[in-house]
């Protein structure tokens, strides 16, 4: 049955009311996570088992496959409502027991969370330590939504912000709200989104574009994919609102080519939005036209860089342009193009719904709102978490993350993937803050937080990151292509214990020149991990030199 287009705000609200009227909140519902890690643990088999059981029950039990819940370490994840009962590491064999217990309003004790030290159990989501310390404004909806069903998004209030923006606010008012909220880019730049929107809006050319950067090339960052795969409509809603504010007629969602589920969900979301009249001409009778296309990268990290990404959308190789040609003024096909990260766009609907004053009440002085963090590395509880900016790292690492695995001690925390930095464990009380972390030499970046334990070889980490980047360099400019190759060469020698006097000074020179004169951010930040290593872990590097010179045996 094709859905007739919703042609006004009133029609949309009527439709939403119909959806809600048809749903019984007391009806038990099993939400099975199909996020990347759970899917990799064959949560699909778990979902199939639940569906098979539910088929015999005449509508007494609902089963829903959802996007990422966040607790990736303990997947396959299952959440039962009402009550938000969390079951972990669920196997198909556990399904009949869960179904039986759910129908009786009981809990399967052996599958709930147990504290690894005290053995204390936590049944409901708000009791589980991993979830308890988070503020899940963005990802909190994931367990409630089947990404293939727009109605699920509408049921939790989706597209209400779009209605509000289109029908009660002018484009200038929307822009103003986002500016006042001080929403800073979540992809790594931390640049004020409102200011960027304004530059594009004010650019002379009437043709304008908006872009979702869903590339997420930063190593160990997986929150954007979790959001986009789990709740594509939230990002789309943010994009349409942004386009309205900026005056853009067309949008591009740009993401990776290697995630079939993500592709399926986004394509479906775009088609459904179009079917419902939320994309296309005269959206909800507002007179605003907007369409959106899906584009894929072709397998190279640099295509996450905004100007390279735009070259890629044009069909050209992803060679970045120098930053003084601002893409907000001259981007895709030289038209003003506003690019923002998935998480940045995802924040927009709530800013419109609840206002800038509400948004600025969360976070620290200059870093407002929450941040999605992918916790991984040598951490006990890996996954996607969401906390207010300003939260101390200690909360992330210990209260949520559960500390370091295998009983080891924490040595370092790394942010920003190959273009970020590592800080030592004694800085654990630093707040998660754009500017603060930048000053410490470990900028938040996209939000991938890696724990490194006492056995981590910090020279090897720098070598590994440099190796990753050299393969991803486009090769156009000398300081990046040649500089990184030489830095990698020296780092490789150091890891083998073949460092000679002068090597560290050489690295510093190369790092400085590559950082200053490279064409794009890839080259410019390629030596940042190394710089943080020299700042906090220099003795470890020095030991690789003196060992060789002294002719003694290897320290590690």
């Amino acid at each position: 049955m094709t859905m007739p287009k919703l042609q006004s705000a009133a029609e949309l609200e009527r439709y939403r009311a119909e959806i809600l009227a048809g749903r019984d909140p007391a009806l038990p519902c099993i939400a099975v996570c199909a996020g990347a890690a759970c899917d990799g643990m064959d949560s699909a088999a778990v979902a199939r088992a639940f569906l098979a059981e539910a088929a015999h029950l005449g509508g007494k039990l609902e089963v829903r496959t959802t996007g990422c819940h966040g607790y990736c370490e303990k997947g396959p994840n299952v959440v039962v409502t009402p009550g938000d009962i969390c079951y972990f590491e669920v196997a198909p064999a556990d399904v009949p027991e869960i179904v039986a217990a759910t129908l009786k309003g009981e809990v399967v004790e052996r599958l709930v969370y147990k504290d690894p030290v005290s053995g204390e159990k936590a049944v409901h989501m708000h009791e589980v330590p991993f979830y308890k310390h988070q503020m899940r404004l963005l990802i909190g909806d994931n367990p409630k939504i089947d990404p293939m069903k727009i109605d699920d998004y509408l049921a939790v209030g989706g597209y209400a912000a779009l209605v509000k923006a289109l029908t009660t606010m002018s484009p200038d008012q929307v822009l103003d709200e986002v500016k006042r909220a001080n929403l800073r880019g979540r992809g790594g730049g931390g640049f004020p989104a409102g200011a960027k929107w304004e530059t594009t809006k004010k650019a002379a050319d009437k043709t304008k574009y908006v872009i979702v950067n869903g590339h997420e090339g930063e190593s160990a960052a997986f929150m954007d994919r979790a959001m986009l795969t789990g709740n594509p409509h939230k990002i789309l809603e943010g994009l349409i609102i942004g386009a309205y504010a900026i005056g853009a007629q067309k949008g591009f969602m740009y993401t990776r080519h290697d995630m079939p589920l993500l592709e399926k969900h986004v394509r479906n979301a775009l088609a459904q939005a179009k079917e419902y009249g939320l994309l296309g001409e005269n959206i909800l009778g507002s007179g605003f036209d907007f369409e959106c296309e899906l584009h894929f990268d072709v397998g190279i990290f640099v295509s996450g860089e905004s100007s390279a990404l735009m070259r890629s959308i044009e069909g050209n190789p992803p060679e970045p342009r120098p930053k003084y040609i601002r893409t907000s003024v001259s981007g895709i096909w030289d038209k003003p193009s506003n690019l923002n990260n998935v998480e940045t766009w995802a924040n927009v609907p709530q800013i419109i719904n609840k206002g800038a004053d509400w948004f600025t009440s969360i976070g620290s002085e200059k870093s407002k709102g929450t941040k999605l963090i992918s916790l991984s590395g040598n951490v006990v509880n890996s996954g996607v978490v969401e906390v207010p900016l300003g939260t101390p790292l200690r909360t992330l690492v210990f209260d949520i993350g559960g500390g370091v695995r295998d009983g080891k001690t924490l040595k370092a925390i790394h942010f920003g993937g190959a273009m970020g930095g590592s800080i030592p464990a004694d800085l654990i009380d630093a707040p998660l803050d754009f500017d603060g972390m930048s000053k410490l030499g470990a900028p938040i970046g996209a939000g991938g937080l890696l724990l490194m334990d006492e056995d981590t070889d910090m020279v090897e980490v720098a070598r590994y990151l440099m190796d990753f980047l050299t393969k991803e360099s486009c090769g156009k400019c000398v300081p990046c292509r040649e500089g990184m190759a030489q830095m990698l060469h020296i780092l490789t020698k150091l890891t083998k214990g073949e460092g000679k006097p002068g090597d560290l000074e050489q690295l510093e020179d190369l790092a400085e020149v590559t950082g200053l004169s490279s064409l794009c951010a890839l080259g410019k930040t390629s030596a940042d991990p190394l710089k943080s290593m020299f700042r906090y872990f220099k003795p470890e590097y020095e030991s690789r030199i003196s060992v060789q010179a002294a002719g003694g045996s290897k320290a590690r």
């Binding site: 890690a37 990799g40 190593s219 995630m259 190279i300 991938g448 890696l450 990753f468």
Partner: protein
């Protein structure tokens, strides 16, 4: 049949130089590699210099300029997997297949690839064969997994 499908892809993008990457992606997806003659046809049909097609086909690692094996074996070398033991896993897979990243064996059974971060860091290190994830892999378990693929 592949040839017909390739011809129809090329026909779809005829005269549209800006669709070069789309055309190559579809052909790669269909044919699993980009033969030189096909790239020449694309250059002619889309009116782009052959040098540009070669540049793009060799720049992006999604494209394969040699035929791929029946099974694509991918070892994730992202940062988390690296910290959790990917190098040892990779060494074992290299030993078992006799391949280094980017190579295909003589019987066209396996193509080995490495690459970063498929977003399932919690179950690293990972072996992915034909899109199927084998999480929390150890070098010992790798042999059994690969043996199951003819």
């Amino acid at each position: 049949m592949s040839e017909q499908k390739i011809a129809s892809i090329i026909a779809k993008y005829r005269g549209q130089p800006s669709s070069l990457i789309h055309a190559l992606v579809e052909i790669q997806h269909e044919n699993r590699w980009l033969p030189r003659e096909v790239m020449q046809e694309v250059a002619d049909a889309l009116e782009v210099p052959f040098a540009q097609v070669l540049q793009i086909a060799s720049f992006y690692k999604t494209f394969s300029l040699t035929p791929k094996g029946r099974h694509e074996v991918h070892v994730c070398t992202g940062m988390t997997c690296h910290l959790r033991g990917a190098p040892k896993l990779l060494a074992k897979v290299e030993e078992l297949t006799g391949l280094k990243a980017g190579e295909t064996d003589a019987e066209n059974r396996f193509t080995l690839d490495t690459g970063a971060c498929l977003g399932s860091c919690s179950i690293g290190p990972e072996l992915i064969v034909d899109g199927k994830h084998y999480g929390r892999m150890t070098p010992e378990k790798a042999e059994a997994v690969l043996k199951s693929y003819e």
